[in-house]
Symmetry: C2
Subunit: 290 residues, 2 copies
């Protein structure tokens, strides 16, 4: 199946499942509305699509991986809500829409993030999988999102603002802040499929490469891109004095780096059948213009 068709089908599947979970949350004040506003704000669903694709690669049933995929997307969404808060990155817009605290106020935005993070683990625990696999999924997601992963990266990112960081520091921050969750997306797909440890490690390495390429491409687009398409003002990283890959290495070196990482990611999948979608996905993310 062509990449765009499969991608669209998986994105739709994730969107429908997320809407279904959201409909089950109770109606306390503006909480459900705020949670749903950010969850359905037009994300590209890269992470949950990766979970489904890795599950399929290793012969698993996509339906069994869907709660893992949706839980991970809820955690990703909470992190965006909290990152946008005035005390953090202080962003008024994301994907062209006002951020949660601009619409609902800071208190509700904090709580909507908290609720999405917590609900994610309810969703994981409900997966139609053996308990051993669910436990591993909970552990992988909590590790990737916690102090040794995404939250750790976010605090290092905040500390680094206004400072000139070395390339290795920027790589570490991005690996924690973004890479851990992309790696977790792949691992969750492998766990849902009941893959071997070797299969899971191959998928994890693929995801780390794709994740870093994704982040470098983001920096490139932040300099090159079109404000309307990216949904945030051009050069916003520069304004906030963040050390980006482009600032460290220049545009051309970054574009080559993305190419190399993408080739390496595709190589990780060499031993496996039915890898076409994941190979095409890596290339699609590397080539994207928004």
């Amino acid at each position: 199946m062509e990449l765009s068709v499969q991608l669209h089908m998986d994105q739709e599947r994730v969107d429908r499942a997320l809407e279904d979970y959201a409909s089950q949350w109770p109606d306390h004040g503006p909480l459900r509305e705020a949670m749903t506003y950010s969850l359905m704000a037009g994300g590209k669903r890269i992470r949950p699509v990766l979970t489904l694709a890795v599950c399929r690669l290793f012969g698993g049933q996509v339906e069994t991986a869907l709660p893992f995929a949706c839980g991970l997307e809820m955690v990703h969404t909470y992190s965006l809500i909290h990152d946008d808060l005035p005390c953090m990155d202080d962003d008024d817009f994301r994907r062209g829409k006002p951020t949660s605290h601009k619409v609902y106020g800071q208190a509700t935005a904090v709580l909507a993030g908290d609720a999405l993070l917590t609900a994610a683990f309810s969703v994981l625990a409900s997966a139609p999988l053996p308990s051993e696999q669910i436990c591993r999924g909970v552990s992988v997601l909590a590790q990737a999102a916690g102090p040794a992963g995404m939250v750790g990266g976010q605090i290092l990112d905040l500390l680094g603002e206004g400072k000139t960081l070395r390339e290795e520091d920027v790589v570490t921050i991005e690996a924690l802040k973004t890479g851990c969750m992309i790696e977790a997306a792949a691992r969750l797909g492998a766990i849902a499929a009941g893959s071997t440890p070797e299969e899971e490690e191959a998928a994890a390495t693929y995801a780390r490469k794709v994740g870093l390429a994704f982040q470098i491409r983001d920096d490139v687009l932040d300099v090159l891109g079109d404000a309307g398409e990216l949904g945030k003002p051009i050069g916003s990283d520069q304004t906030r004095q963040k050390s980006t890959f482009v600032a460290l290495k220049g545009l051309e070196a970054c574009e080559e780096w993305v190419d190399t990482l993408t080739k390496q990611a595709i190589q990780c999948l060499e031993p496996f059948q039915n890898k076409e979608f994941l190979c095409a996905l890596a290339q699609f993310l590397a080539d994207r213009t928004k």
Copy 2:
């Protein structure tokens, strides 16, 4: 064993285990320090002690319940950090110590809360228990802490400020905001012990009664108590125009209500052996002066 001895032993056991978990968090900026500051800020450990006591009641090994107890306490601690934020209750002190955002700033306080909530699920997943029991534990904790529980209660509480609420609304808010987590503490102990559904429900009912009595007693102490002992200014609920049980029913009726609930809680345990500690604990919480 006398209540105070067992209580002190269990509190110590929880403190040591929490310190042990905290020592394993990575050292990214001020994150671990901020997480540990709030986690070890002198909490009474009522919830984790309840988990251990219920596990013991139903013949379980306390060591197997310790990760459940500690994970729950991490979730409770995160909720205090976020509740104290300027955009929420805006409290500068808790238990006589400056709150997280006063010491570390708002961004770190938000992230320390996020990290504690996430790490809690890593801790649960590491319990030395069969996967089925861990999955149930994850599900119970996530439900109790999420939009249908604690976070739902917090948003209703914020919405209710400055309004005159009916008694049933105050009961609902407190049941969600505080009661769900106290009930979850009991359920987690029962799950760790591998109890029967009937045993778990009896412990859950006991905990709901104790939890409501605890909250009413808190309101009473807010009016009666001594500022130094309670660690927050006297009458702070009144200042913030919260509808409290005392405001609704008066002091005397509240004290009677605490008595009745405590007697009912103790009755729930009637069928069980070795219930002395939990009976004494209910009475101890009802009679406390701080």
